[in-house]
């Protein structure tokens, strides 16, 4: 039957953005190794709830690795130790019996903690609002086949568009920089003919917003790529740099 293990969890607890936080220690006993990491937290939470305590708050939605809601640092690693995986798709079997896990929220000045492991990532939305779109009205689109797109470009655009906006790149970056996220969106649209019309305006506006939000600068540490559950490549950052430079030169 199922294997079970015991874990010690050191979890960041913080009531709200303006109250101080601290670590608390919980024992997770007899955890079925087939559980996902979030299901393990569910189990811990049921116990907390039954003992009159408030459960650990964490963001989650799809539990399938696609919505980008979930995420936390496990022993300093964004989304835990497994590569290309969101926290909800990480399984307890990746840990050993007796392990101690330090669980912290994403840390970034631009992502204030909302509660416990939940942070406010609305800065990402504001960056997209600054220009992460093609300006086309509903109903004004031309016939889809009027503009062929080379398969290579479409595939590469997809690779960039696969970003789920989870924020792990910011969390893992030593500088809390958001360039991987921004680069992914810039690349997605710059690779498609539909997106090229507004490329300069877009690059300028999105970078300006990114800076305003208080993210750090990229110094090419490549930790973001390693932490990204969708394995978005840092080449997207290079493309962002080029797109931005292009926009700067074009004035």
């Amino acid at each position: 039957m199922a294997n079970t293990i015991n874990l010690t969890l050191k979890v960041w607890r913080q009531k709200s953005s303006d109250s101080p936080g601290a670590f608390e220690i919980y024992q997770a006993h007899d955890i079925d190794t087939d559980l996902s990491f979030l299901e393990m937290l569910d189990v811990v939470n049921i116990n907390l709830e039954k003992n009159g305590k408030e459960p650990i708050a964490f963001d989650h939605d799809c539990r399938e690795g696609i919505c980008g809601c979930c995420g936390a640092m496990i022993n300093g690693q964004a989304h835990g130790p497994e590569h290309g995986t969101t926290l909800c798709q990480l399984h307890v079997r990746k840990f050993r019996d007796g392990d101690t896990l330090v669980i912290e929220p994403w840390r970034s000045r631009a992502f204030p903690v909302v509660r416990d492991l939940i942070v406010d990532r609305s800065a990402f939305d504001r960056i997209i609002q600054a220009g992460g779109y093609v300006t086309v009205r509903t109903g004004s689109a031309p016939e889809a086949h009027s503009l062929p797109v080379p398969k290579i470009d479409a595939d590469e655009a997809f690779d960039s568009a696969a970003c789920i906006g989870c924020g792990a790149c910011v969390a893992a970056c030593p500088n809390a920089s958001a360039v991987l996220f921004v680069g992914a969106k810039i690349s997605h649209l710059a690779l498609l003919p539909q997106g090229r019309v507004e490329r300069e305006r877009r690059a300028r506006a999105m970078v300006e917003r990114m800076d305003l939000e208080g993210f750090g600068n990229c110094s090419n540490h490549y930790e973001c790529e390693a932490a990204c559950p969708k394995e978005i490549s840092v080449r997207n950052i290079a493309r962002l740099n080029r797109e931005f430079f292009r926009a700067f030169v074009k004035g």
Binding site: D42, I46, D61, V114, V134, G139, A141, P148, A154, Q194
Partner: protein, 637 residues
Amino acid sequence: MTLDSKVPGGPVSEKWTRHKFDMKLVNPANKRKFTVIVVGTGLAGASAAASLSELGYQVKAFCLQDSPRRAHSIAAQGGINAAKNYQNDGDSVYRLFYDTVKGGDYRSREANVYRLAELSVNIIDQCVAQGVPFAREYGGMLDNRSFGGAQVSRTFYARGQTGQQLLLGAYSALCKEIAAGGVKMFPRREMLDLVVVGGRARGIVVRNMVDGSIESHAGDAVILATGGYGNVFYLSTNAKPCNVTATWRAARKGALFANPCFTQIHPTCIPVHGDCQSKLTLMSESLRNDGRIWVPNKSGDKRPPGQIPEQERDYYLERKYPSFGNLVPRDVASRNAKEVCDKGRGVGSTGMAVYLDFRDSIQRLGRSTIEARYGNLFQMYEKIVDDDPYQVPMMIYPAIHYTMGGLWVDYNLMSNLPGLHVLGEANFSDHGANRLGASALMQGLADGYFVIPYTLGHYFASNRLDPVKAEAPEFKEAEQSARQRIQKFLSLKGKKTVDEFHRDLGLLLWDKCGMSRNQAGLEEALRKIPEIREEFSKNLVVNGSADSLNQSLEKAGRVADFLEFAELLVLDALERKESCGGHFREESQTEEGEALRDDVNFCHVSAWEWAGEGKKPILHKEPLVFDEVHLAQRSYK
């Protein structure tokens, strides 16, 4: 009450065009005087909010998640249908329409479905223009695949992440409008009640999920695009916060709830593995193209699959449906899996699974071909189950996936409550008793981009709306009752958590009102649901406070609504004594054990009216008329 579907006259293919012309328009200068409340930012809500804002309306949009980009639509994998006929394989608007009505087992409204098929082509144009990176061929043209057993290739896709890419497209349009000031976005808000003033839907009451404050928002119309209620079964492929709260609260305010028993079960999901599981994961249906489904002949055979010799295996779908084999439709495949498992022949630790075996196709085609076709799915399976499907057969089991039922709407997507419009999975309209693969995304976007921008204008132009403020007594009342409910949950201090209640309810429903249903079981469920509800109202524990982020409290509200709604779902299943689509009544089957429709007595939409606490809901029927499509019995033998 008579249900007026407001389907326009004329031939089915001209109805929408004529209707668009007949509808009244709002003067451009007047549009900004109207405030539209859009609840939900999935495909339906985001596309509606963006399009309405482009027209000049003031839009207030609400969602549960921290960002509109995370709505449940993001999880859709397979693709979106459109009658573009790019493949030249005989597709047409008419064929898509026909397939959808037939696939829905003749329980949907013809005119709506035709419009859906008609608009499908515009959706693809719109999405491509937004920069949705659909799969392409080497020539640069869009690629298509066939999906869900369709005979034509009309499904557009973006790898296995079509829903994500479509939603990001709609989200980007929404962001554009937020930046332009036309949409005001309210994330992390949960709609707790609909506010009706003077017989019209005029606003909502929401809880700010971060600081717990209860807010009122008034407007000239309310659009609900809050998705499906599959989570009433607890375990489903739906995202965790999917709920019935928004639609149920509207139902309690007078909106009719239609066909709640029409729920869809997807045959290929990763089976349940223990008591603590929170969610089921869908594996693409395409796996059935090359995988063979089997169980051991003997019940209780616990040998590892490799040790079960060929002659002791039962490839039951191939045996029973020689012409369709493993490719029978979703409902048939699901029901048969349940049947063998109920006979004790299921596999895996729980006995609630069947094998999906790739051994033969790996032998025939080679591992590399299989890897090219399903590599990412195999990887996902291995990540979750920790078994290598190249070596050991996969285990699968059906799971709740989609809900065809929803709030009743007319052709204009307005419910019987004037001003309340319902889009996407939240309404009941286009899929009848069974939804075809790749058509929910299509419906959400058709509703949001191309239907509501016209029909809402018509509503505004043809009605005189008095100004309403959020300070009106109706709002205060709704706020008050929302607060009371919350205080009730917090004050109970019982012993059982919300999730435990939710699981109890889910198990009961799955058992009695899941893949197959019978009178005795349904009646039993109708007895037991109030018992669970009763215990819930006494023994629930929710800690923490109302004025902070409190996830247990959020869940408590949702589960409380599920507990009320479940009863309606079961009641509907009990009243519909025929089998159709996803609704299989054991009493109504052919001699071969297939679903048997009863068109004489049940060719209608069942729309239920809330009659008050403890009273039996009132059934209204909208007869379904088929002018274009011939009613016929489905057969897959």
